[in-house]
């Protein structure tokens, strides 16, 4: 029985943690701890993902096809056996784009209402 393939819009709005994880693995394949660090750096320490939130999100994102576990590993000297690396899928990219568009629109509307500062 053929299943209808899901549309990116079906996943919106994206939970904040999911969006951040997508951004973290968009640049390069990252393992769990690296994702946490990347998110923390990008947000200036504002968002520190807990291990539980991270792996729960990862499990769900794997099921949804937003990311995959990569088979290639970095050089063995940099690698820890326990680590798995995650990579964004093309579908994950389009979901992230759809979420960014949604957010941008939201900000635009907020701006017209005077809720957000005008562009410099």
């Amino acid at each position: 029985m053929a299943q209808k393939s899901p549309q990116p819009e079906e996943f919106l709005p994206l939970p904040a943690a999911t969006f951040h994880i997508l951004m973290a693995v968009a640049e390069e394949d990252r393992h769990g701890y690296a994702i946490i660090q990347d998110v923390a750096t990008r947000t200036g320490g504002e968002l520190k993902l807990s291990a539980g939130t991270l792996y729960r999100s990862i499990q769900r994102m794997l099921d949804q096809g937003l990311i995959i576990e990569t088979v290639e590993r970095p050089d063995p000297e940099f690698d820890d056996e326990r680590r798995r690396y995650y990579r964004i899928t093309p579908f994950g990219t389009s979901v992230a784009k759809a979420e960014a568009t949604r957010l941008a629109k939201l900000v635009k509307w907020a701006r017209t209402m005077g809720f957000a500062p005008q562009k410099a």
């Binding site: 029985m1 393992h31 769990g32 701890y33 946490i36 807990s50 291990a51 539980g52 939130t53 991270l54 792996y55 729960r56 990862i58 499990q59 769900r60 099921d63 820890d80 326990r82 680590r83 798995r84």
Partner: protein
């Protein structure tokens, strides 16, 4: 050090996650936590927040998957849900009655401390107390915190509108305190109300208050006319209060006059006491034995063989027969559920085997065994929850039928699906889901990848063995049910064929209880009876009509000791007779044959010798082989002369032995004496539709006395049917259960053989190709079902005999090993096996060698 402690704790907390998630990510999560030096509190918080979410994610996934797989097999899904619904509804409905009648505590505070207290004489364990014995027992005991008494009664009430006949309880002043209950409005009866000469007071039930006074709170202090005597309403009880049974709608105090304490043989009080804290039932019984012994020595003439019996009120309320009836029903319902579970386990097992390829693929793709088991258990839980919900609905529909199994208890009438019963249903549903889901799931997921081999077939010898064992269980249980149902049905038919001694067809009955003191004078009553009876006899279609104290089978009491030649015979079962006053037409109306002597007549008045018509067993017992006519005996205070002998009737119902009967002429009843025996039961023999007669009869009674209510309108056939109603209901349900069990077992056998045929079709094809005849193939298939049926019948017969012995007292003397019942049941079982085997056998015959072998 502290850090290692946190890590250990964190690792332990990881067990809150699903095992598959833990296996996948546990190590990495520990690594992250170790690097970040997380505090204990935040680790706990993090896990408590995320673990349920992960469980929920997996559950949602499994549910989606289950919905897909189940919708792909709608036939299987429908059968599974229906089978479960039947099993769960049977148990829920039966439990709602069993719980109400046998388990649930009575609705009084610390009701486990409440006991009933009885007098005993040889042959009778439950005899009411006489007021004087009650007074002495209450005074002398140290084991009861308080000791009250009540008796039921009925009276005509005139409040607003038409006169009405109601049941009421007369109680001692301390009874409400003994029970520990408070009125909803006003006050309850207190010892001050219970003194001779105190103003007459009444407490109303919620129902009567609503019905007769429209729920008006201003009713307190108002006067109410009970059998012509004014009573002041002092309180209203809450709707949940019922005592001593459901029927009582009003409570008044006894106000014993001094004369009530004279006769130690005048027994009519139901004793209810509350055990003193720390006193056990045994201690209470021991002390009451001592007290009864002491009184026996003081009053050897009256209390020569009177003892005391104390039992928990809860246990005394239900007769042993009712208890057994319900236990048998519960057992039968459980059998149905077990068969349903076995059947489903088998179905799921077959599905799991067929799905081994799918499961093996998922294992190969990395799904852990725990994940697969969890998936399969989710599937069985979805089935059982759907079945359970449907089952509760079916149970709600079945409750009105089961309501007839509930005896009159001090609790409200019908069983209902309340929180308690629903919790039972939920528990049952979950247990069922686990029972039939887990084992097949574990076995199916015994992780190997052989399922992936090309052309691998589902099923193997070892597993077929387990499936056969399940079917064997089904056949055995269904035979046990079938035989039990057969025995009970046989017993019911046997009881219903007992001759009651009278002809019940074509007789309308009703009650007009004449109030005292308005009708204290015999002449006044006689005038009423005469007018009513002659007017009714004049109605078209009526052949005869009469009055009697109590209609047969409606009142089991009214038993008196017999005194012959100045010697009072032992007041045990064998030497007592039932006393009834009648008007002359009674025997002809009920077609009770007069065997010798004469009927009671209008000339049996008080200025003539006291006449009595006795039943044949009475005459035989005291004057065997002699002419009983003209013999004398003392009965109910006076010397009586036998003028006639009639056939015996079943006063106590079809199942119980009845005492011999003594009928006395109503015209010879003394004023103010034996008031309780004043004839009130009216019997009318007529042709045609009896109900059509009713308006005319009501009009005649109204014309005779406009204040006289009519109650308990029934046909005599209904009274006789009611006597066996609980049994008839039970038998009907058990027969339905047995039919259901048979059907389920048939489905089980069908399923097993279909499976055998589909897995062995390549083998059959080879055999056919090698020249086997259709008969050989058929033999292989049928041999399997015959073996199962044979083994099931042997086991079932043994178990059914044990079950029959356990419920022997319900069998009305039928042998629990009754050969005809066993033979019919076994034959039905074989027929069911044959029916279940039919379709798979035909399919085996149609196996096409080419097609079957091509897939290999």
């Amino acid at each position: 050090m502290r850090f290692y402690g946190v890590m250990r704790f964190y690792r332990a907390l990881l067990h809150l996650y699903p095992a598959s998630f833990r296996a996948e990510y546990g190590e990495e999560m520990c690594a992250v936590v170790a690097r970040r030096h997380v505090s204990l509190l935040s680790a706990v918080f993090e896990i408590l927040r995320n673990a349920p979410a992960v469980h929920w994610d997996i559950l949602r996934q499994d549910l989606r998957y289950t919905a897909r797989t189940l919708s792909r097999a709608p036939g299987f899904t429908a059968v599974a849900i229906l089978v479960l619904a039947l099993g769960i509804s049977a148990n829920t409905a039966v439990f709602s009655v069993t719980d109400k009648v046998l388990i649930r505590p009575l609705p009084f505070p610390s009701s486990d401390r409440l006991v009933s207290v009885w007098e005993t004489v040889p042959g009778f364990k439950h005899m009411e107390l006489s007021p004087v014995n009650y007074r002495d027992w209450r005074r002398m005991n140290t084991v009861f915190a308080d000791f009250g008494a009540a008796t039921t009664f009925s009276a005509n009430i005139i409040s607003q509108g038409a006169p009405e006949r109601i049941s009421l309880a007369v109680v001692t002043g301390n009874l409400f305190a003994v029970l520990g209950v408070q009125p909803m409005i006003g006050r309850s009866i207190s010892p001050a109300d219970d003194r001779d000469g105190a103003p007459q007071t009444a407490v109303l039930s919620y129902g009567l208050w609503q019905r007769a006074f429209g729920g008006d709170p201003g009713v307190l202090g108002r006067k109410l006319d009970l059998d012509g005597k004014p009573h002041v309403v002092i309180g209203i009880m809450p709707p949940s209060f019922h005592f001593p049974d459901q029927e009582a709608e009003l409570w008044t105090p006894f106000q014993f006059p001094n004369s009530a304490f004279e006769d130690r043989d005048d027994n009519y009080l139901n004793g209810v006491a509350r055990l003193r804290p720390g006193v056990s039932l045994e201690q209470a019984q021991a002390e009451m034995n001592l007290i009864a012994g002491q009184l026996r020595r003081e009053y050897p003439k009256e209390l020569g063989n009177t003892g005391a019996y104390v039992n928990f009120l809860r246990q005394d309320e239900v007769t042993a027969q009712r208890r057994l009836l319900l236990l048998a029903l519960s057992g039968a319902a459980l059998c149905v559920l077990l068969i349903a579970c076995t059947n489903l386990a088998n179905l799921l097992f077959a599905r799991a085997l067929v799905r081994r390829r799918e499961l093996a693929v998922r294992t190969a793709l990395g799904a852990g065994r725990e994940r697969l088991v969890r998936q399969l258990v989710t599937e069985s839980m979805v089935l059982s929850l759907s079945g359970g919900s449907l089952g509760v609905l079916l149970a709600a529909l079945a409750l009105p039928l089961l309501g007839r199994l509930v005896p009159s208890l001090p609790v409200s009438g019908m069983p209902s699906l309340d929180a308690r019963v629903l919790s039972f249903a939920v528990l049952l549903t979950v247990l069922t889901g686990v029972a039939f889901g887990v084992v097949p799931a574990l076995r199916a997921c015994r992780g190997d990848l052989t399922g992936l081999r090309e052309g691998s077939r589902a099923g193997g010898g070892r597993k077929a063995g387990l499936r056969s064992a399940l079917i064997l269980t089904e056949v055995t249980l269904s035979l046990v049910l079938l035989i039990s149902a057969g025995l009970l049905l046989h017993a019911l038919l046997r009881i219903q064929s007992v001759d009651p001694g009278f002809r019940s067809d074509g007789v309308l009955t009703l009650e007009t209880a004449l109030p005292m003191p308005k009708y204290a004078a015999t002449t006044k009553r006689a005038a009423f009876y005469q007018r009513v009876l002659s007017d009714i006899r004049a109605l078209p279609g009526v052949s005869d009509a009469a009055y009697i104290s109590y209609l047969p089978m409606t009142m089991t009491g009214g038993i008196w000791p017999v005194d012959i030649d100045g010697r009072t015979l032992d007041r045990s079962e064998d030497h007592a007779a039932s006393l009834r006053y009648i008007t002359p037409g009674f025997f002809s109306t009920l077609k009770i044959p007069i065997q010798t002597g004469r009927n009671i007549s209008d000339s049996d008045t008080r200025d003539r010798p006291m006449a009595a018509v006795v039943s044949q067993s009475f005459a035989r017992r005291y004057w065997p082989g002699q002419n009983p006519l003209g013999r004398h005996f003392k009965f109910a205070f006076l010397d009586r002369t036998i003028v006639g002998v009639v056939g015996d009737i079943r006063v106590r119902g079809l199942e119980r032995n009845s005492e011999p009967q003594v009928y006395l002429p109503e015209l010879q009843q003394q004023d103010d004496s034996l008031v309780g025996y004043t004839p009130k039961g009216l019997v009318i023999r007529a042709s045609g539709n009896l109900q059509l007669l009713l308006p005319a009869v009501r009009r005649i009674i109204h014309n005779a006395d406009p204040e006289q209510p009519v109650s308990d309108v029934r046909t005599l056939s209904e009274i006789v049917d009611d006597d066996t109603a609980p049994r008839a209901v039970q038998v009907r349900i058990i027969v339905a259960f047995a039919a259901l069990a048979l059907l389920l077992a048939g489905i089980g056998i069908h399923g097993l053989l279909s499976f055998t045929v589909s897995t062995r079709s390549p083998e059959f094809a080879v055999r056919v190709a090698l020249g086997a005849q259709p008969g050989n193939i058929l033999g292989i298939v049928l041999r399997e079902s015959a073996l199962l049926a044979g083994a099931g019948v042997i086991l079932g017969v043994a178990l059914a005999y044990i079950a029959g012995r356990a419920m022997q007292s319900l069998l009305a003397g039928l042998n629990p090993g009754d050969a005809s019942t066993f033979l019919i049941a076994a034959a039905l079982c074989f027929l069911m096996t044959l029916a279940g085997s039919l379709a798979p056998s035909l399919r085996a015959l149609r196996v096409d060698a080419i097609t079957a072998l091509r897939s290999e």
